[in-house]
Every structure is written in C-alpha cells, then in structure tokens.
Symmetry: C2
Subunit: 333 residues, 2 copies
Amino acid sequence: MTSTSVITIAVDAMGGDFAPQAVLEGVSAALAADPSLRVLLVGSAETVEPFAMVNDHCEAVATSQVIEMGEHPAAAVRGKKDSSIVVGCRLVKEGRADGFFSAGSTGAAMAAATLVIGRIKGVQRPAIATVLPTASAPCVLLDVGANADCKPEHLAQFAAMGAAYATAALGIRAPRVGLLNIGEEPGKGSQLAQDAYDLMVGTPGFVGNVEGRDIPAGTVDVIVTDGFTGNVVLKLMEGMSKHLLGEFKAALMSSPVNKVAAAVLKPSLGALRDKLDPDLHGAAPLLGVDGLALIGHGSSSPRAIASALRVGAVAVRAGLVDSIAASLGREGA
Amino acid sequence: MTSTSVITIAVDAMGGDFAPQAVLEGVSAALAADPSLRVLLVGSAETVEPFAMVNDHCEAVATSQVIEMGEHPAAAVRGKKDSSIVVGCRLVKEGRADGFFSAGSTGAAMAAATLVIGRIKGVQRPAIATVLPTASAPCVLLDVGANADCKPEHLAQFAAMGAAYATAALGIRAPRVGLLNIGEEPGKGSQLAQDAYDLMVGTPGFVGNVEGRDIPAGTVDVIVTDGFTGNVVLKLMEGMSKHLLGEFKAALMSSPVNKVAAAVLKPSLGALRDKLDPDLHGAAPLLGVDGLALIGHGSSSPRAIASALRVGAVAVRAGLVDSIAASLGREGA
C-alpha cells in the first residue's frame, strides 16, 4: 500500500466551506507540484467529471450523496453509503487509494475512517494529530479533538502514534515526547495526567511534563494530551496568531509615518505571516486507523488543500501506517 | 471589613523570584500612587523594619519563617505558623487587613488562604481568577490552577464567582459568562463540559459554550473552565505573546532598512507590548475564600506588584467578598 512510486490520494470534492471550488484549485496545484501524485476525485458527477476530463493524473469517482456539516456523524456514515466521505474511505480500504482527504465534517470523516477503514490492531482510540509552528522546529500535537474524554492508556498510545508521525511527516528520527501538564515535576496535574505520566515513564523519547508556555517555544517534538485540552490549545493558538497579527497591523497603520515604515517592512512581515500560517501543514491525520485519513479545516483554502495532499504523499512514502503499527507493537511488548 | 475609606493590604515581603527587592519597589510605587492605601509588610525583621521606618503608610510585621517554593503547600502552612504567608492570611482573618498579597509559592498561598482565612459559606472549591487582555475588553478566566480535577457543580460555582469578580474588578454590571468547550452547540465536549453546561443553563449571564479561538477575541466577559485547562490556556497565552512579539522583533531587525523603519514604529510597538503585558493586572485572586487573597506570578516585577495592590484596593472597595457570598446565595436559591 505504501511502496509504489505513484501515490494515490482520494479527495472529497464536496467537503469544506469553499467546496468544491477551493478543493478543485487545491488539487490542481498539488498535481502540478508533484508529478507522481494521482488523485481520485470523489463527489457529484457534475463536479468531478468535467475536472478529471481536463486534468492529467486525476480520475473521477461519482457519488450521489453528501454528508452535511450538521448531521450526526455516525448515523450519517451508516445511512449515506454513497456519500463522498464514505466512498473515499472505501477506496482506501480496498487498496485503490493510499490515503483519503476531506475538509468536510470532521466528525463524519472520523466516523467513516474508523468504521470503513478500521483501526490498526491494538489501537484503542484513533487520535487527530496536528503540526504546530513553534519558535524552533514544528511540533506534533495530539489529540486535538477526536476524544474529548480520555483514559491514561489512551494518552500512552497517543505518545507512540505521535512519535511515529513526527518521524514520518517531519523526518525526526528520535522525537522528544512531552505530556501536556500544569507543572513540570512528576506528580503534578490532574489524575489523568498523573496516571498517564506513570504509564509513559520509560517509553522511548518521553521527556516528562511540558506546560502551556512550552508549546510555542517548541521544547519537544511531540506533545500528548486529551482531545478536549488539545482542541482548546489548537483553536487558542489560531485565535492568538490572528489576534496578535491584527494588533500588530493596527499599530503599523496608526499614523501616516507608521504607514511608510510599514511599507518598508511589508516583505519581512509577509514572511512572518507565512511562518505562522496554519495552512502550511494543511491537514491533520487521524492516527490509528489502518490507512491514511487526512482531515482538513472547514475553511481550508486551495493552498491548505494542496499542502494537505503534499503532507499526505510524504506520510505515505514514509510508511506512516506501518510504522504506527510497529510502534504500538513495541509499546505493547 | 470592606467599607473603611483606608484600604489595608498585607504584603508578603519574602515571596517571588525577585523578593524582597521587587516587592519593596512595588509597594513603594503603590503607596505613592494611592494615598488611601496602607500596607502591612510581612517578613523577616531585617527586611521589613528598615523599609517601614522610611515609608509612610507602611507598618512592619516581623516573622521568623519562610515557606520555600519546593515545600509541600499544606504541610508547610501547618508547620510554619510564623511564616510570612501564614501570618499575612492571619491578618486578614483577624480583620487587621482587608486583603493579602503574595508572589511566593502559589500552592502555599492557596493552602494558607483556605486553611487560615477559610471559605465563604457554601463554596465547594475556591478558584483562581485571572484577567486576560483580549481584542476587545479584558476578560476574566477561571479556574487557572487551583483545581486540576473539577466536578460540574464546581464549574457552576466558578461561573457565579467569576461574574462577581468581573463586576467588582472590571466594573461590568451584567457580565456575559461562557463555558470553555470544544464546540459551540449544547451537547458538545467532554462529559464534564456537557454536565456543567446543563447546570449553568438559565443562570444569569450564561451565554453558552465558547471555544479556544474566542478567548483572545473577547466575545464574553467571564470564561469558566477546570483548573487544568485554565492553567494550560493561561501559560499558552503568555508563551504565545512572548513568542509572537519575539518573531515580530526578529522581522523588524532582519535588515538595516527594516531597523530604520522599526525605529519609527518604536512608540506604537511599545504601546502594543504594554497592552499585551500580563503585569497590567498583576495578581489573581483566590475567589471563594472569606477575605481577599491575591496570588502574584513568581516572576512578578515591581510594576506587577504595584498593579496587584491597585487591583486589590479596587476589589476591596467594590466589596468583592460580600458580592461573591451574595451571588452564591442566589445561585443556590
């Protein structure tokens, strides 16, 4: 599944706030950038067929149903067998695609990936992993929302899966793994964090607790937490970046002489904005399912979608799913 | 206790990374700024007596013990009856001070406030409340670390106490209260968040769930969460502000022409840094104890300490403790 030189990604043409237009533009850009990428474009015939007709390395897979944002995820996945999300996951399950990407309903994509593709043997709970920009190197944070309530053994598995992802997606050979907590010393924090710490001690790469302020500093390569805390952290970081860039922009525009200075600084500030841009990584994989399932932000831009497909191809080439299976075997041994 | 025109605050001279020097400078600045403020300076005789000798409105309270940062909080409070933290709280309990401030061990200050001053009748768990800078008006966040594990009924009490604090400290008459969660709709989130939501529905000011991205946007006046999530949020925001300002500074200094432009912008950027400065509020009260107990950051600067005393005087004048007691009476009614 992971060793062919051509990488095939199934893409949900119907998912996301700006679908299908943003998806089609993102797919075009990704295909242009990577000649060994092949896309199975899944969605309504009138959307996917004309696009596949005029784009090399793209094949249309027409579906008759769409899962809307408000639907109950598991019920929608069970009820809409010919939806773009369910069909996309089935393509992975059947080995016709190496991975699946959707910027549609996160809940439905998670439910479809888990129900249709299935879990890697031994995985208790799949987790969504995201890559954060930090002051030093990028850092993997998981879970960012698949599991609002977690047990200590879930967090210990997240550590192994997150480390495998850091190696596969970021090329970090021996990732340093930290547990998000509210104190540095062992014995600090909630009962969940204390129990997870005890389980994680001695596992490869575990460096102990990290605190909120360590996240943007980038002191570790992988940060493990429950899906409630992780989701709050991810959305807070997005909000803070937007807020502070806004404040900065307002300061630059606050007088005529400031505006002149701001014009001089424009290229440097553009580079900074790009560095902080969450679109750079584009999508978050649901780690623990037996195939690559990538979940994009609902507001994904064409650029984010192109990034997602690039990240997906990197993960497939690096053998992410097999290395997660192997790491859980080691963790369980 | 709260209605005299002179406000008396007991101050721990021994607490904080830069004590006693930073504390003494902060007290000087606060006394100079507010002629109706009186300080009981608590600490070793050689520190507090010479200072009180030369500063009006300051009285020395000599103590023989100090609680160190590494000590077990409750054990230290029980064992060191003549420590600056325990004596400071006793001054509040005995009505000799209207409030107590320490930048020393947060755990010890919490334990002393709870054990020595005692809780307001009906309070299940005191909570630490902090004031965050946001894109619009400042916002109260609680709990930021007193209770790593919470029950739904604790969060419902935090809502009432946080609203009383927003009124007393920020002058907001009818604060909007949000529950920090990982989705906007009812029924989202962890079991704790779902159960807390159900308890909070219908209470005055409750507007529903808020998400991580809403925190810096300032969409509500009070954000309620458990002490684990709140502590992660607080430290992440501090870390993000520092990180992003560092990135801006690096961008401004990245070329000679940028440096010239940066010089032009310096006053505006200084104003922005001040706006984001956590020192502006200086200290976080432990809400729910039967007297004002203010906890400062270990790294408190003289400016932060002066702000803390100013905030303390405002809270005393506004009758914070009585209004919390009244709000809990209403909540329980």
